[in-house]
Symmetry: C2
Subunit: 225 residues, 2 copies
């Protein structure tokens, strides 16, 4: 465990949808980095089970709660829930998320025989939908393209990918870049404003095509920076 960046010292990270593959993977890496983590799930019981499993695997301070409890407990709240139900959950949690940095990782994708494809989103992107609902929070888009398989694999010491961080408030994108950087191998890279989040969410469909063609768990690196 290396020392945390100053911006994250004393901060608790909540991961809503923390019992799904992406949420579990992120929670694992944040806990391993020494951040106190609260796993949120629809079922507080499943969240508590996932938290125990993580403590056993990587140590650290990990607890479980229902999504509302996790949202309340987190200073930074990562939203890693399925696209289906995303808006409804955030509407419910808007009061407890007020004043917080909310990190949306959700990829609105459809699947058919030809693979994955981007779903149209009325607000432009999941991140923009979140910001439209959470008017008192600062929404940042990030962690869209990170392989859950790599995050969860205890054999993967270093995850070879950048995380594009999207948002309109510099202090919040800086914080989330720091958060990404707590995962070994990962670099948080500013990737533009929230209005440009759609394509980063949708790019996950392309990475799924890459994974299928090349039998890989692809990530993305930005060059020349």
């Amino acid at each position: 465990m290396t020392s945390l960046p100053e911006s994250l010292v004393g901060k608790t990270v909540a991961v809503l949808g923390g019992t799904g593959p992406q949420g579990r993977g992120l929670a694992r890496r944040f806990a391993a980095a020494g951040l106190p983590v609260v796993i949120g799930s629809r079922s507080a019981e499943r969240a508590a089970e996932a938290a125990s499993a993580l403590v056993e695997a990587v140590g650290g301070t990990v607890t479980g709660a229902d999504n509302a409890g996790a949202a309340e407990a987190g200073d930074v709240v990562v939203v890693a829930v399925p696209w289906d139900g995303h808006g409804e959950l955030l509407k419910e949690l808007a009061p407890v998320l007020a004043g917080k940095v909310v990190v949306d990782c959700v990829n609105p994708l459809g699947f058919d025989k030809q693979g994955a494809y981007a779903l149209p989103v009325e607000e432009g992107s999941a991140a923009q939908q979140a910001q439209g609902i959470l008017t008192e929070s600062t929404v940042v888009g990030a962690f869209h393209n990170v392989s859950a398989v790599k995050l969860e694999d205890p054999e993967v010491a270093s995850v070879d990918t950048d995380v594009l961080v999207l948002g309109d408030v510099r202090a919040a994108t800086d914080l989330v870049q720091d958060l990404a950087g707590t995962i070994p191998g990962v670099r948080g890279v500013y990737g533009g404003r929230l209005r440009n989040a759609h394509q980063v969410e949708a790019l996950t469909a392309n990475l799924i095509s890459v994974n299928r063609r090349y039998q890989a768990h692809a990530g993305v690196r930005v060059t020349d920076i």
Copy 2:
């Protein structure tokens, strides 16, 4: 100059919009790789001038023509024209492009004080618009995210980026992956079907944000493949 992949031996590459920065940069690298290149432009005269300048700079076989003449001359036709006018040009050229592989590099972007953003495209993407018009051609999307500055810089021996290649016909995407691979440093990576082209086109807006923030000419690498 290394030897060309078999798929490209004897093939002439036309670059429509070959006097713009992206087209000029691609033409330069293809010519340097030993491919016969025809630069297309609205003005045959400016195309001829650009061709002469390229021959002087990198040698090879480069000629100029108006866009229709170039489309006719090319076995593989790269479309690097501005988004504004893209559909109209392709409608005009559809008969001469029949039976050919058409490589669309066009990024439908808008610009304002906050930088670049993706424009909505009725057909989904520039590449899908092209395929909708060019019903007798095989459209492949590629070269969206390659820095024109890097392509054009004679000091840049190797361009540190992958090119995501999108299309529905394997032989055509394989060919365009080979074409991308003629540029030193570049790897052509299959990136999914044409229906997933939009986000790769739009990602250029994010790279413009990256370039501004980091003072860079960013590219993208796919990891784990």
